[in-house]
């Protein structure tokens, strides 16, 4: 892997920054805005692909909190979440060559990777029962559960998060629950139906309606962010 100019050097000389080809698909993004002059996620990914550890360091600083929150939401164990976070960033480093700007945004790619690893970890441990029990216990303490009554004043939320959560909270609780179990627990429709004692067709309808509302809500959010 050849040595390339570091991202920090790129920042000092923005005119020499390599511009990536525009993705062919127009996408809407919900990612928070960056500070002026900060390298974009695409630039950092390009740096990682070129073997620049500084690019990985910056990407880590930018997203470790979000990815750890996602992992924790799946596995509910602080130490295991830290270990998994490290493994995931190592995988980002190792698999960066497989990232394509044409197919999506870096954050989406990282979240997909982190979610898959976290759910795999959960399944390997065969800890569904324990995790569910913990989830039950934590529901009242967990400030980030979707179905939660904490006031916004109790939690410092970013604008982006507030807006996204507003969209999600606008869903009926049954739709939120179905999406929560599918996305954060990796459950199939049948598993959700069994867990919630709901007909399979109802689960499917809840997922379809809920995801469509969130998707449509995100399109509207794009204009507000």
């Amino acid at each position: 892997m050849g040595r390339t100019k570091s991202i920090s050097a790129t920042r000092r000389k923005p005119k020499k920054r390599m511009h990536l080809a525009k993705p062919r698909t127009r996408r809407f993004s919900v990612a928070p805005a960056l500070e002026p002059g900060a390298p974009s996620d695409f630039e950092l990914m390009k740096g990682i692909q070129a073997g620049d550890p500084d690019a990985l360091s910056q990407l880590y600083d930018r997203y470790n909190g979000i990815l750890k929150a996602l992992i924790l939401r799946v596995i509910h164990n602080e130490a295991e979440a830290d270990d998994l976070l490290q493994e995931i960033f190592m995988e980002i480093w190792n698999q960066a060559k497989n990232f394509s700007a044409q197919k999506g945004k870096p954050l989406g790619w990282m979240v997909t990777l982190a979610r898959r690893r976290a759910i795999d970890g959960l399944r390997k441990k065969q800890a569904y029962a324990r995790a569910e029990e913990r989830l039950q216990n934590e529901t009242e303490q967990q400030p980030d559960a979707w179905v939660h009554n904490a006031t916004e004043e109790q939690i410092m939320l970013s604008d982006t998060r507030t807006l996204i959560r507003k969209v999600i909270r606008g869903l009926p609780p049954a739709q939120q629950q179905a999406i929560d179990l599918a996305f954060f627990k990796g459950m199939s429709q049948r598993e959700i139906a069994a867990k919630t004692n709901t007909p399979l067709g109802t689960v499917k309808t809840r997922l379809e309606l809920g995801l469509k509302k969130i998707y449509d809500g995100l399109k509207e959010l794009k204009d507000e962010l």
Binding site: M1, T25, R27, F28, S29, V30, A31, G51, P53, L56, S57, Y60, N64, G65, I66, K68, A69, L70, L72, R73, D82, L85, Q86, F89, M90, W93, N94, K103, G104, K105, L107, G108, V111, T112, A114, R115, P143, D144, W146, I155, L157, T160, R161, I164, R165, V167, A182, F183, G186, M187, S188, Q189, R190, L207, E208, L211, K212, I214, Y215, L218
Partner: protein
């Protein structure tokens, strides 16, 4: 399958919630709709970002980054 039905299935697909029998039908429709299908699926991945960003960021142990960067350095030097 109509394109509207395909769109509904795509949102389930990206979160891994399609059942095996639905997946087969989905892949057939995906081929049928071609680029239009691929573009829509790509857009659906914004749902992943949104779900992650809906969570309050969690603080990682400071040792994690040090270990990570040491591993990266070792791998580069290997």
């Amino acid at each position: 399958m109509s394109f509207e039905q395909f769109q509904n299935q795509s949102r389930l697909y990206v979160i891994g919630a399609l059942e095996p029998e639905e997946l087969e039908e989905f892949e057939k429709a995906r081929k049928k709709f071609g680029n239009k299908a691929e573009e829509f699926i790509t857009k659906c991945y914004a749902l992943h970002e949104a779900f992650a960003l809906s969570l309050r960021p969690a603080k990682a142990s400071t040792a994690i980054k040090e270990r990570l960067m040491a591993m990266v350095k070792a791998k580069k030097e290997a």
